[in-house]
Symmetry: D2
């Protein structure tokens, strides 16, 4: 885990970290896959694919040197290709980077990285949703106060809260599964025609896709960036769901609320009483970076003609950051939900905090509803005496939960049913 | 069209403009649909649904007054509901806004507006893609120079360029069709339990969905905002594709390039020679607003507990703007492609602009490929004499187009085939 | 106030609303000012400036018609100029739009609108800071619990909280004053040379600045957009400060915290106990739109050559929205602070909520500090018995406020002193 | 330069790269400065400041380990402090991190990093503006065609273009100088009162500012983030100016335009004729990441109470990225302008590309101006015969440059004069 860096404990806690080493591995995997595809298409001697694959290993390359050389060409691929050609024997050489342009290698590498990240994120989301489902099931009938605009409103259940989280996690998971099916090789050569390969271009593209386990697109997508947007949007959906859950946890964990806490809250040596929701805070610190990254990635879709002059380059860092953050957030939300401690005593106590004013709606309904009943209740609330006493009616949050149970069941059923996670 | 405003000719040229009147119509449609659903569920007297529907018409409401009254409650629904109750007779009253909270009305209204907008955008995209397909077909074999980083690179065809546009338009269309299937009513009452409706909540929700032609969700989504994100992302995909096409058109229409022009370019009385790509510029002026709007909408998904204190409110204006811009852009891209004038004489001339230096790759291939051939060609290019003459070989852009035709055919086939637009 | 629209009570509560009417007034003011400048420079007959000014009034123009005509030229100015020429007599005609291009009129109009908005915002901020200063003074010594990561930490004073708000408001005010000094006319003609005016260009530019009360820049800034960025950034600073205050208010106003409330909280007919912080929520609903708008405006600075093909157009709507929101937020933050109700009883009660665990730092200090003392206190906190009792020491939040008073005084002094608001 | 990474040649070419090592150095500088300040305030034994300073060196710390430990506390400072305490002798220990909270160290470290970056950027901008001034001077009277909406419009001079760039660079430089004066220590302790230091808080804060060469603020700014916004905005202004210049260069360097080229354009082994504007493209690849980063940083100003739960954390990575990119862009724009090759032959040729249609405005003026003259010219343009011949008038771009020379001189004068760079 040493490569995660100084802030790695906060922003890079997932299975996947898209750092320079990950990029290098992916770039080499594409070059090696291409050499094998070229050989299979009969454009390079037998064995050349294996020869290239054998030398296309990270330890043969110096990241700093490649980075330095990237200055002149605007990306690190030309230097990497030169070194690869030098490393491989004379026979292999004809297979190296054959027919390709730098963008082919980088874009396809992004798809390999996207595949890794979405794989990791879907796995974590599935576990997170299991935890959310467990919470929904256990607390199906645990009443707590609902809060709108951060004010106590009417009763809900913690089961319903967890069911909402579950539903979000499930929908985020589904979006990622769909996005994964769209990950495809980019292979077009200098300007998208693969002219250097004569008539063999589409065949090599198909074999390359096979080698890398990616889809083969109908045509090169070097300046049609929807595949990039699709993975970014799918990951943004996942971080959006995690951000909502983390925000709820920070609010419910407030000292004055105390309804949930993390399994292992962060402490402070100077303030031993503190129980910081450190994981939820780290999630929010991550998810709040996503809208800005998404703006950059979306703007980059405006690619000029056959290769963008800047917009393409502007994608690389935001994608790396989004990928790393998304994997980290997925791991953190799984951890957070796994260990979430629910304090139903505090939930019950908070339900009584305004005496029974939060049952005003129930009271009005019991009094027959309509404006007259509401006025009556309004006056009672203003009197600051419990409504029960003023109005002489029985008020009970547990009997004013409407469809909370039914909604919770529906979310659980969808989660368990054939249409989800099946 | 009078309501489109001072900049309407630039930013509001679509079939749908989400202004205050559109919002009011949508809010009233939700209230009326709810009243009918409540009646059907047996919670209000027969005829009350019709009675509410009859008075829930825009001319009965004063937008300015509703806006003014919105200050106290933070949204215009409470004032609208009060007026609606006053307008309807005593019987209808019990059906008005029954069980609902303001957010139910606004969120469901957003879905109705999204339905309108995505309907309009998909219709325009379908026509735009027909035009792109026509261009791809006609110009399947029209050579032009490909440009990477805005420098002449190697030959492509205009058919391939149009095929790339077509592919983008088709994929944007597909994304919108998927997004449309996710548009669902939001109905949860004060805090998501529909407690005021006793056990009838889910039934009323289902009937409401039926009345409005929207999907019925498993549970209320007031603070799980993926449905909002989904429509925003689907529209952003469409504007991204349009922005790429418009960028290409502005570049190809440059005075010095002159390969395409708009059917009806903008003029200037002071500069009668100008042929401004006014539609492409208006598209870019619109699409470039989208990444920022998307950032706001994505950030708003971090909703607090049972109703967001600000994040929800922050969605309304960006959604209105995105909806209006997307409809406008869709109409403009359809217009742009419909009338695009292609100048193949200029394309041919530009292919010769660097003499035949842009055929260096072809020359190297003809000379047997490999470093030696590339060096030979490199020297020839440096000599500033046509490669043909120096190297004594025949060079022809029309014979260096690789898979351009095949890729164009593939895009056309996908467009026409069962898997698209079927 | 009728033009503020359906959501005007939430997003358009300021003195300035930048709607189409405001734009039209500004565009006409620039055209009229230009005609007068042209006359003063001797380029048009005496009286022509006055003649143009007389007809350059909104009631002579139909916004919808201008908007419609904007489609062909990409902006509404050409149509406006044509109508203006028709309205003015033969003599005045030579003064109309003389030497100008559409961008000159629109950019200068933006500066006039910016001048209005920043004028309104600075006035409101000054009043808001007076209220913050009053709160800081009154509550200089009112202890409350400080909260970090939403957890109770150590005591602070409400005076210090208000002093932080005050400092932010004062710094936002100062930034706006600086930005106001940079507002300058844009006047460059077709491509920035003012060639149509022969040698008189700079003189007319100077006179135009004089007529409109704006600065005269060294050279046209049509594609150097720092003046646009400067006003946007200055307004974003102001909304950032307001957003922080509003966030604090929503948190301190939570039912479970109850330390502040708005003068006139929003209610709910169904939930008569609710005291929604409606103004703070509206502020947050506004301020959260700003980062996205800022992203668009910043990206638009990448202007092509002598007039941007899209980037310029993309500024108009985000600037209108930012201007309207900033004015609204300024008014709302002034209102919010003016009437803020401070509940020092709840503050005192919340200080005791964890018994005296939040005084752990004080206890450790009293016990001599260092790791040993901290361990001792840590154990005591874990025992769940008040520290006072376990440790046998006197603990008092009022005596653990450090420099809270001094910092409050410093902020007040800076506010009142010569270096601020002087 | 080895730490710049795989894309360092594109995005990290400046003097300053804000990587983990830079962060660690800055965090340690703050801790060391604090220890010396604490000693000077008499709160720690003589020599303790020096003792802490001696061990607060990067080689004593393992970034990966600190990163790992950051997970529990949400930031790397607590682990760093613990290790620092262990490294220093018993006496020094009392000076370590005295009175401070993690946020004090991180925020003040950000200010040190900002100081480095803005120092590097201002130095580069000054040199870049000297180059722009040189270009403006040399080409004061070199005519070229002005282009609006990417269409040829009317003549300008390259001197005027360079003067616009110069003006932007000078204004960006000035903004940074102002921002540098606002860089201040953040020192507030657990919740902003510095209570752990008794009455000595403000004194230690003042001494800390002195030790670090930063300003001492009136009060802690842990949740009033304008100082962060100010440095971000000032850097965004600089990158916005660089982005405009780079965009112009990519457009003027197009094969079909050819009016400028980079000193050392990027090549392509497969396409030896290519002269890619690699530096301009790298600049655009960097500047286009800025609007999104700015959105995140601006949104983060909404800090909760005494320490933000996520918003603060969300600043660290975007600030690091913005700092690194801004330094890189400043170096690149200096390089780009230093070596820019201007091709006045192509400028002259392009002026004639539309024959003399771009002199239509001049022709109309020579014919007496007014609608009649414009109609006459319009017809002539439509005839596709040079205006000179049809109208029998002498047309010369060099005599239709209006105030181009005067504006160029004004920008140069401002640059050289006392009010700039003095």
């Amino acid at each position: 885990m040493s490569e995660r860096g100084l802030f790695g404990g906060v922003f890079a806690r997932g299975a996947v970290v898209i750092d320079d080493a990950a990029w290098l591995r992916a770039l080499l995997a594409v070059e090696a896959g291409l050499a094998r595809a070229v050989e299979r298409a009969g454009l390079a001697p037998p064995g050349s694919g294996a020869a290239v694959t054998a030398v296309a290993v990270p330890q043969n390359f110096d990241i700093a040197e490649l980075g330095e050389l990237a200055a002149r060409t605007g990306n690190p691929v030309p230097a990497l290709v030169r070194q690869l050609s030098e490393l491989v024997g004379e026979d292999g050489k004809t297979a190296v980077h054959r027919g390709a342009t730098s963008q082919d290698i980088i874009d396809t590498a992004v798809m390999l990285l996207a595949d890794q990240v979405t794989g990791a994120v879907t796995a974590e989301l599935r576990e997170a949703s299991q935890s959310a489902a467990r919470l929904a099931r256990i607390h199906r009938d645990t009443p707590m106060i609902g809060r709108t605009l951060l004010q106590q409103a009417v009763p809900v259940t913690f089961g319903l809260v967890a069911a909402g989280w579950l539903n979000g996690l499930d929908e985020a998971w589904e979006g990622l599964i769909t996005a994964r099916s769209r990950m495809a090789v980019q292979f077009g050569g200098a300007a998208g025609t693969l002219a250097a390969l004569g008539d063999s271009g589409p065949e090599v593209a198909r074999l390359l896709a096979e080698e890398l386990g990616l889809a083969a697109p109908e045509l090169p997508w070097h300046t049609q960036r929807l595949r990039i947007l699709d993975v970014a949007f799918a990951l943004a959906r996942a971080t959006a769901v995690a951000g909502k859950i983390a925000r709820d946890v920070t609010l419910l964990a407030q000292t004055e609320v105390g309804e949930v806490s993390e399994a292992d809250p962060g402490g402070s040596s100077a303030m031993p009483h503190k129980r910081n929701p450190a994981t939820a805070v780290a999630i929010l610190g991550s998810t709040r970076q996503v809208p800005g990254l998404l703006a950059t990635i979306t703007a980059s879709a405006e690619s000029e003609l056959q290769r963008a002059a800047g917009a393409w380059h502007a994608e690389w860092q935001p994608l790396s950051q989004l990928f790393t953050l998304a994997s980290s957030v997925a791991t953190q939300i799984r951890t957070l939900l796994e260990g979430l401690v629910v304090n139903d005593t505090r939930m019950a106590a908070n339900l009584e905090a305004t005496k029974d004013a939060t049952l005003a709606e129930q009271a009005a309904t019991l009094l027959g509803g309509g404006p007259r009943a509401r006025d009556q209740v309004g006056e009672a609330v203003a009197s600051d005496v419990p409504l029960r006493d003023v109005l002489g009616i029985e008020l009970d949050p547990a009997r004013y939960l409407g469809a909370a149970g039914a909604f919770t069941d529906a979310a659980l059923e969808a989660h368990e049913g054939g249409n989800r996670h099946g």
